[in-house]
Amino acid sequence: MIEGILIGLNTALSLKNILMVMIGCFAGTIIGMLPGLGPMTAIALMIPITYGFEPSTGLILMAGVYYGAVFGGSTSSILINAPGVPGTVATSFDGYPMAQQGKAGKALAIAAYSSFAGGTIAAIFLLFAAPSLSKVSLAFRSPDYFGLMILGLTAVSAFSAKGHFLKAMMMVVLGLMLASVGQDTLSDIPRFVFNNMNLADGISFVLVVMATFAMSEALTIIFKGSDPTQAAKQISLSKLGSIKLDKDETKKMVTTIPRSSIIGFIIGVLPGAGSTIASFLAYGMERNFVKDDEKQKFGKGSVNGLSAPETANNAACSGSFVPLLTLGIPGSGTTAVMLGALLGFGIQPGPRLYQTNPEIFWSVIMSMYIGMVILLILNLPLIPYIARILAVPRAFLIPLILFFSVTGIYLMSFNNFDIYLMIGIAVFSTILRLYEFPMPPLILAFVLGGLMEENLRRSLLISDGSWSFLWDRPLTLCIMISITLIVGWQIYKSFFQKN
């Protein structure tokens, strides 16, 4: 493992890669700050650029964007009470009241230190958990993988789209349907191509991500007539206050960070749970742990109340990389985008990545940590200025997002059919978003579609067409029981349970 860490450090600490992490963190922070534009959009906008780089450099850039966007989301939660991503909603509970009390600088500092500490502890967990799980997952067979993929999809649908399980499952099916367009990987038989040669190679992953996130988010903002930059215009540099913490505040954080890191990491590893659940759980848990007088401060600017969700949020981000790197199965929408990018580089994550591409495996882990250090050193002092950049009017912001989306896809194919297809998917996504159809399950399904079909093919061929492979092995049986319970419970909860 020491050798691996050194390989990772060697790759991640090259001048070019450090520069990429810095650019990624900076760009991610700006995009992540905008309400509605989360890490998935930030990473999606970066994918076309990364294809010109080596895989490790591209991934390092995306890891920087990811952490930057998460940090940016916290910043908008604290400053303008508009969480950029659901994972930072809990941050606004105590961060925004602190900002209103004239302690915005302090709140940003608490968020930054907590994120850093949570990320650091989780990175250490990841360092040990990922290689161990890689070895265990070598024992997994095709039926187990097939089951795990269905489990990931149902879990993401259940947890990421609260109260909208069936809508999320429809999005899963739609994502899988979109993934089935193009030539069959084994027989090369065209499917759903309708004699259109542009569809022969299937629909590009970048196209779907750009359309369903960057472009449709931009269109949704215009459609709803909202202005995400309006609140940022109110920010005054002089009102942010000091970023220095006193002894008492530091002491409170020291007790909160370890327990929130553990809960955040564990929740992050679970498929579908992600940073939103982690931050809410950590917030609730912290409220139970603190003394009664501190409990009264929750919701009114408590240091513990701000530190706990921020720590858990970042720890969950690191945790979500465990299933991606070790099983090749993303547990969240954001890691699904990362998986799509990895596949675009010709890298198949999974148990063998640890052995076949150790430099990628370790450099991603190392660059995450470097990204967090850079966020702390660069972004914290720069936050007031970055926040001012956010006051860019909507009239400029939206066309620029649309321009980057169209350019991104044009640079990949030099084909205007892809542009029309992207616009079509974006328009449909905008309508679906309006009625609360969640997009992350669609992306996750689109990315996993090919792998799912491959594992189902192997499983059915081994069992000679019998579906008994679903219960022959105890592991597969356990996975299938979990899926049945999740689906049954969610359907019951969505339609029959009162309140």
Binding site: I49, G52, G163, L166, K167, M169, M170, V173, L174, L176, M177, S180, D184, L186, S187, I189, R191, F192, L219, I222, F223, K224, G225, P393, R394, A395, F396, I398, P399, L400, L402, F403, V406, T407, Y410, L411, F414, N416, I419, Y420, I423, V427, T430, L432, L434, Y435, E436, F437, M452, L456, R457, L460, L461, S463, D464, G465, I491, S494, F495, Q497
Partner: protein, 156 residues
Amino acid sequence: MQISPVKIISLLFFIFSGLYLYYAHQIRVFSFDENAPFNAKTFPIYLGYAGLFFSGLYIVLPEKKPSNVDLSILDYKKTITLVILMIVYGITILKAGYFLSTSLFLVLSYITLGEKRWFWVFTLSFPFVAFFMFLLHGLLDIYLRDPFLKYLGIIG
């Protein structure tokens, strides 16, 4: 009686899944693969059934929390104009070239969204696109076909 828009979307998805299933059955597989446990149409057929199942379930079951959207507050004019501008951008990008079509797309989009500061409208279009093209050409070595700039003799 008011029908929920989500139920209508689910119904459309149900019809779409039915069509998908029909086309999945039409996929031509090799004759030796016809009776194999798995062929090119197996997975799409299951997907078609899954689509029918989940959308059918949504149509049939009662809605606990219907999504209410006030359609009167939506900005149709600006959204549709932007979509049309993007389509025109897609049509012209190959014929007129990247520079001209992108710059015009940006100018018209800014104006559509109500921007009236002409200095910024200009700066964030023509010079911005020129700089972006320089980055792509000069630094990342990505070739962009541009008949307009070629006609002007700016690029080869």
